[in-house]
Symmetry: C2
Subunit: 140 residues, 2 copies
DNA sequence: ATAATAAATGAGAATAATTCTCAACTAGGG
DNA sequence: CCCTAGTTGAGAATTATTCTCATTTATTAT
C-alpha cells in the first residue's frame, strides 16, 4: 500500500476518495501548494469535494507528520509533502522559492539537541532576501 | 535621538505618540508579543489608540527592518524588536520559546550566499519540538 | 452480499485576524 | 501661528480558517 495511505490506515482513519485525492495531489505535485490550489486540483477528481474537507485532511496529514506547512509571507499557508528535510530561500522580489540543503543544517540541529537538550520534530526555516537574478537590479 | 525614532524620522515619517508608544513597548519588553498584547500595552499610554494603528505601525516598522514577525504556530502573528539575530526553539508541549544562537548559523548563511548567490535580509527560523522538561514525560 | 455503525463529508454559517475607508485630527516645516 | 500632507480612530469589509449538523459512506461483522 502506498505511502500516506498506509499511515492513515494504521492510525485507524478511513481511506476516503477525498483523502486519497488530496494525498495524491500533494505527493505528485512535489511543490508548495496553497489550500485553494490543492482544492482546485482535488475537484478534478472529486467534483463535489468540499473545501472544509481539504482543510481537515491537511490538518490530519500534519498530525501524522506526512506534510508540513510553510509560511511564504503570504496571507495564506502553503503545504508540501514531507520528503528529505530542507530549508527554503524565498526571494522577496520575484517570489521564487528555492529549496536549500546543507551539512551545516545537520550540525545546527545536533547543536540544538546537545546544547539545549531540545528534540526537534519539525522545522520552519525560511531565509528571505534576494535571489541572484533579483539582487543585481537592486543596487549593485 | 533613540533608535527607532531615528529611522522613522530619517525615512520621513512623523513621530506620533502612537508610534512612540508602540516602538517603546516592543523595545522595552524584549519579548515576542502579539498585536493584541502590544495594543493593550499601548493603550495604557494612549487610551484612545486604535487597533488599526498598531497594525499599520508594525507593518511600517517591518518595512524599516526594525522588527520581525515570527510564527509561533498560533493563529496570530507575534512581533519582536530586531536585535542580534537568532533563531527560535518552540516547544510543542508547553509553548515555551527559547532563543537560539550558534556559530553554525553564521556558516549556514555564508553557505546560502556562496552556493546559491542568495542575499539574506531576513530570517524566519523556528525549530519545533520538545524542550528538555517536556521531552521526558513523553516516552523516554 | 447485507446490515450496522462510527467516522467522514459538504454546505453554508460563524469566527477571528487583518485590512480598508474616510472624515477628523495633528506633527512639523515655514 | 498656519498650512498641509500625513496620520489616526471607528467601524465596516474582507479573507482565511473553523465549526455545525444533517446526510452519506468506508469498514467490519454477520
Ligand atoms: Mn519545499
Ligand atoms: Mn526571539
Ligand atoms: Zn528573485
Ligand atoms: Zn516544553
Amino acid at each position: 500500500m502506498k505511502a500516506g495511505l498506509r499511515e492513515l490506515k494504521r492510525a485507524g482513519f478511513k481511506l476516503t476518495p477525498q483523502r486519497r485525492a488530496i494525498l495524491e495531489t500533494l505527493k505528485s505535485s512535489g511543490k508548495h501548494m496553497s489550500v485553494e490550489e490543492i482544492h482546485e486540483k482535488v475537484k478534478t477528481k472529486c467534483p463535489h469535494a468540499g473545501l472544509a474537507t481539504t482543510y481537515r485532511t491537511l490538518d490530519l496529514l500534519k498530525e501524522l507528520n506526512l506534510v508540513t506547512d510553510i509560511n511564504l509571507g503570504e496571507e495564506h499557508k502553503h503545504y508540501e509533502w514531507k520528503r528529505r528535510h530542507h530549508y527554503h530561500l524565498v526571494c522577496l522580489e520575484c517570489g521564487d522559492v528555492v529549496e536549500f540543503r546543507s551539512n551545516f543544517a545537520i550540525k545546527i540541529e545536533k547543536n540544538v539537541l546537545k546544547d539545549y537538550d531540545f528534540e526537534i520534530t519539525d522545522r520552519h526555516v525560511e531565509f528571505c532576501g534576494y535571489c541572484s537574478r533579483c539582487a543585481g537590479g537592486r543596487e549593485g
